[in-house]
């Protein structure tokens, strides 16, 4: 009996070794929990699916950025805390390139009116170039100075696009603009129209309508989230290839001991520049996909918060592991980003609170006379604020208890082939997982 359970347990553990199983298990749990809570709240089916769709969208975008950060920090040891800046460069350049050349009505500032694929490529290249500009001076610096330089860069970008001077400017006789603090309005067509205008798509709309009762807008959003998941898979594949190669081996060596890597004949600066530019370009891409379908963008979206989110996701998943990065962004979104609000709605459903006190003092004073209710009410009223506190505390606790995150302890082999026992020897099973 007991041997049976230990067998079962061993089986489960060996199953858990596979990355696909990990991903399925974690995401399965997240989605099912959310769906169940949605049912408990009495949400309609389309409401539940819509919640899951929104989460998928967030996980996919944050997952892309986390993977790019993992390439920087997890593999190469480049301490980039200017992520928001590179995302901003990507999105703003794309929007400026794609906006029509002659502004009409409320759509204010002019763009170049280029086709969307070219605008996206332009945005990605611009983010990569921004990476190059930061990399060349900064790569010689030690990690903490590097970090300060990157966050300063990100703030320069944010303040630059906010500034009135760039709100509208002329370059080579063409009028362009960042919109300053008011931001840019998307006055080009939906970038996903390439897909939405396909014949097949109308049947997709019908399908989602009959399944979840979705309207066309929701169907589009769902399709878009699915596209993002595909892009995430592509980036995962790209970074997995990059890290499992002689190139990735040098990156790892740089992280471990750059000077020793140099003495072994590696021009480490070349590798660092390449990988930094690649990561920044991917961050730019994620920035574009994050918001280029929205009605507009303001510089506020690129406050250092975004960078902070990505770092939490990376540390939850474990720096150095690509699978960990994806899991980390999933857990971050589910537990820390969307979770608290969902939880709040759940509680709201069950308990009806009266009016909350206006101030902290008003909530604390009654505690002295034994009445905790006002404090609880105030806490609920200020839930969004507390959510940020929770994120900060989560990061501290992670750094205390488990700085290596979920999968950071596991070293992913940096070679293009599995490094197992020598052919001819009795081979022990390679632990590559099935995700290569």
């Amino acid at each position: 009996m007991s041997t049976n359970t230990t067998d079962r347990r061993a089986q489960l553990e060996s199953l858990w070794e596979h990355d696909a199983v990990k991903i399925l298990a974690v995401f399965g749990t997240i989605y099912i929990t959310y769906a169940l809570v949605g049912l408990a709240l009495g949400y309609s089916l389309d409401g539940i699916v819509n919640t899951l769709r929104r989460m998928t969208y967030l996980i996919a975008v944050y997952g892309m950025v986390t993977l790019a950060l993992n390439l920087h920090w997890g593999y190469t040891g480049l301490f980039n805390i200017g992520i928001a800046g590179f995302m901003a460069v990507g999105l703003y350049v794309t929007m400026i390139l794609a906006k029509p050349a002659d502004p009409t009505g409320a759509a204010q500032y002019a763009g170049l009116g280029l086709p969307m694929p070219i605008a996206i490529i332009g945005g990605v290249v611009a983010a990569g170039l921004a990476g190059l500009i930061v990399a060349i001076p900064a790569l010689r610096l030690r990690a903490d100075y590097f970090a300060i330089t990157t966050i300063a860069f990100a703030e320069i970008v944010r303040l630059g696009i906010t500034s009135g001077a760039l709100q509208e400017f002329t370059i080579f006789g063409t009028e362009l603009g960042t919109g300053g603090g008011r931001g840019l309005i998307r006055n080009y067509g939906d970038p996903m129209n390439v897909i939405f205008e396909l014949e097949v798509f109308s049947s997709f709309v019908d399908l989602t309508n009959s399944l979840f009762g979705f309207g066309p807008t929701q169907a589009r959003a769902l399709a878009y989230s699915m596209v993002l998941v595909l892009v995430l898979v592509g980036i995962y594949w790209l970074i997995q290839r990059t890290s499992r190669s002689p190139f990735g081996r040098v990156l790892k060596a740089i992280r471990e001991d750059e000077e020793a890597a140099q003495s072994l004949g590696k021009n480490t600066n070349h590798f660092k520049i390449k990988v930094f530019v690649l990561g920044c370009a991917l961050m730019g891409l994620a920035g574009i996909l994050w918001r280029f379908r929205r009605t507009g963008v303001t510089p506020e979206a690129f406050r250092p918060h975004v960078t902070f989110y990505i770092w939490i996701a990376l540390i939850i998943g474990g720096a150095g592991s690509n699978t960990g990065s994806v899991l980390g962004s999933g857990l971050f979104v589910a537990i820390l980003f969307e979770g608290p609000q969902y939880f709040r709605r759940l509680v709201d459903q069950v308990v009806t609170f009266g009016d909350a006190p206006n101030t902290f003092a008003g909530s604390v004073a009654p505690i002295l006379s034994g009445d905790v209710a006002p404090f609880v009410r105030y806490t609920f009223e200020e839930f969004t604020t507390l959510q940020f506190v929770l994120m900060g505390v989560a990061l501290i606790v992670l750094m205390h208890r488990r700085p290596e995150g979920l999968l950071g302890h596991r070293e992913e082999t940096a070679a293009a082939i599995p490094l197992t026992r020598r052919p001819g020897d009795e081979s022990t099973a390679g632990r590559g997982g099935d995700s290569s």
């Binding site: 301490f79 805390i81 001076p137 900064a138 010689r140 610096l141 030690r142 990690a143 903490d144 100075y145 970090a147 300060i148 330089t149 966050i151 300063a152 860069f153 703030e155 320069i156 303040l159 630059g160 906010t162 500034s163 009135g164 001077a165 001991d257 750059e258 000077e259 902070f308 770092w311 540390i315 206006n358 101030t359 902290f360 003092a361 008003g362 604390v364 004073a365 200020e382 604020t385 507390l386 940020f388 506190v389 994120m391 900060g392 505390v393 989560a394 990061l395 501290i396 750094m399 205390h400 700085p403």
Partner: protein, 371 residues
């Protein structure tokens, strides 16, 4: 000798660094020349330039004062503390709560006053808070800002940083980002996110006619100068004269050696946090006195400027931090001579910092000497 030092020392980059230095030096020289010529031929209003210098100096004093603490913890604990800006904010709220209480006892509820008027209602203007009308309230506030933040920062060290004393600078840095975030939103939770005025307007001021316009320094500017200089002098004397100060300098120079020679490092670390935190809190309090407004994120927005000052001056040097603060403050304001509107002041400061990192990462007061 760490890897990093040897990589930097390799000497190969010397030529490019010197070239950069030349370019930057030439640029600074041209700007200065342009400024002088512009003043002489009347393109730039001399009183405007003088106002920029005065404002820059005052701003620089605040940055420098807050920078001392950051510089000390950076060199003694060996990590860049990203929560330092939020220590500045915390101190300001602690201190201003007390100032409101003292100045406005009875004018509003205790909770409203101690939380620095989280909702509309009685505020700094109604309480007529100014150094001339409520000097005692302001002194009490400054005192509490200093001492309260010192204790608060010590508490944070006990809870957060002490358990990870052995970790390297990077895990500590990441943790401090978490601390910064949590702290900032705890401030919002407790004090609300309202931006409020804290002082009375129309203060008596000392006005000087400078050729083409007035340069004025009001009593709060004066208070800032006196308080900041006094605190800086205090730290200077503490480091030079007291046993604690000498031990701190020894530890910043060489931690391992300090351990071997039996300096009680844990105790030094505690005092470093408390002194650094106290100065940060005082700087925050003075900043609010000077600007007349308080909000939940001004310290965070100040943080990168403080970093810029500390790096410019050289990590570990308190004089470097003060000097760096002044340079950063003045160049930020002077940048408005060429880039009007004030959109580019912060960008200017960041660019200066990046240039310093490229040319002389050890800073102007070079390397590790807390003296």
């Amino acid at each position: 000798m760490s890897t990093v030092d040897t990589v930097i020392d390799r000497g190969r980059g010397m030529t490019t660094e010197q070239l950069l230095l030349l370019v930057v030096g030439l640029g600074a020289f041209l700007l200065l020349g342009d400024l002088i010529i512009g003043i002489l031929n009347g393109t730039y209003s001399i009183s405007r330039v003088a106002r920029y210098v005065v404002e820059g100096t005052l701003y620089g004093l605040i940055i420098g004062l807050a920078g001392i603490g950051l510089s000390m913890t950076y060199s003694i604990l060996n990590f860049a503390n990203f929560a330092h800006g939020d220590y500045v904010t915390s101190g300001a709220f602690f201190g201003w709560g007390v100032t409101y209480l003292v100045a406005g006892w009875g004018a509003a509820s205790f909770g409203h006053l101690v939380l620095v008027a989280p909702q509309r209602g009685v505020g700094g203007a109604q309480l007529e808070i100014a150094i001339t009308s409520t000097p005692f309230a302001i002194m009490a506030g400054l005192l509490v800002a200093g001492i309260g933040t010192a204790l608060f920062v010590y508490l944070i060290d006990r809870i957060v940083y002490k358990p990870m004393r052995g970790s390297g600078g990077i895990p500590l840095l990441i943790t401090s980002i978490g601390v910064a975030f949590a702290l900032r939103y705890i401030i919002v939770f407790v004090y609300s996110n309202r931006t409020r005025g804290t002082t009375l307007g129309g203060l008596p001021s000392f006005d000087l006619l400078l050729v083409d316009g007035w340069v004025s320094i009001d009593v709060h500017d004066g208070t800032l100068i006196v308080a900041a200089v006094a605190l800086m002098l205090g730290v200077h004397l503490m480091l030079q004269r007291t046993k604690l100060g000498k031990a701190m300098r020894a530890m910043s120079d060489n931690r391992d050696l300090a351990l071997v020679t039996g300096i009680p490092t844990e105790q030094i670390i505690r005092w470093t946090w408390m002194i650094g935190g106290g100065l940060a809190g005082s700087a925050g309090y003075l900043m609010v006195l000077w600007t007349g407004t308080i909000d939940w994120q001004f310290g965070w927005l100040l943080l990168l400027l403080i970093f810029a000052a500390v790096i410019l001056g050289g990590i570990g040097s308190i004089y470097g931090a003060i000097f760096g603060g002044l340079i950063i403050g003045i160049s930020m304001h002077l940048s408005m001579v060429w880039l009007p509107g004030g959109d580019f002041t912060t960008i200017t400061a960041f660019l200066i910092m990046i240039l310093v990192l490229m040319i002389k990462p050890s800073g102007l007061f070079g390397g590790k000497t807390t003296a």
